[in-house]
Symmetry: C2
Amino acid sequence: MAGRPRFVPLIAGLEEEDRDGVAEANRNFYRAFMRRDLAALEELWASATPVACLHPGQPPLFDRATIMASWQAIMRNPETPAQIKIVEDRLIVRGRMGVVICREVLPKAHLVATNMFVREGDAWKIAHHQSALAPPPKDRPTQPAAAPRRDRRNLH
Amino acid sequence: MAGRPRFVPLIAGLEEEDRDGVAEANRNFYRAFMRRDLAALEELWASATPVACLHPGQPPLFDRATIMASWQAIMRNPETPAQIKIVEDRLIVRGRMGVVICREVLPKAHLVATNMFVREGDAWKIAHHQSALAPPPKDRPTQPAAAPRRDRRNLH
């Protein structure tokens, strides 16, 4: 939002869609994860909204403390890659809610994610995350910078 | 919404959260799918909003026609179960956007889904769907009515 004049809206519903704010919250979410910064991650999660988290192949989590413990366990796991590249992100924002759909490109896996953000006070907070394994892009292969390797699809 | 007096809100942002409307749209979505009613399904998908669909293990789809073709292919597949039981659904609604997180209980599989709805005119339309395989509930086993069978987790 820097560099753009901001006026206090008379009525929140008339404020223009805050796509920048949602995109920034989504970047902060992955940045906190890559830095293994649990405190920052926890700060980014909604505290006044029901939360949910659907990790790949795991039972759904609906309790905030359990969700935070799950992120801590993932971040502490030495097999969790340090770098995640977010590509093909799409935003849909309406008033006080926004959704980002994106690819999470890991060195050895491709995932697709849905991240839902809600406005709490002046901040965008993540209230729901679902990620699941997906095949790598076909048309525009996105090679992860951390581990370039031959695309097996080219062999046949 | 039937049976409840409805007043035209002066300002959309001041309208109370339409949880009933989002829940109904979610039910209609699965009903259309179970009835193999492609026309109804297509009517339920947003037409004035960017759409996305993440089927389990598939590449993300961002094109409306491609998304409709994918549903048609799934519904035409004789291996697609006729019945899907939706359980543990959670709603988060803010103004003109809502998200439903739910379990999709199939006879031989359990999935978790995120369904995002947006307000287009007077109707709630689905603009994004992600579903992925998940283990069955542990604490409250939800046996699909269509195919009751022994829970293998009880064997150890």
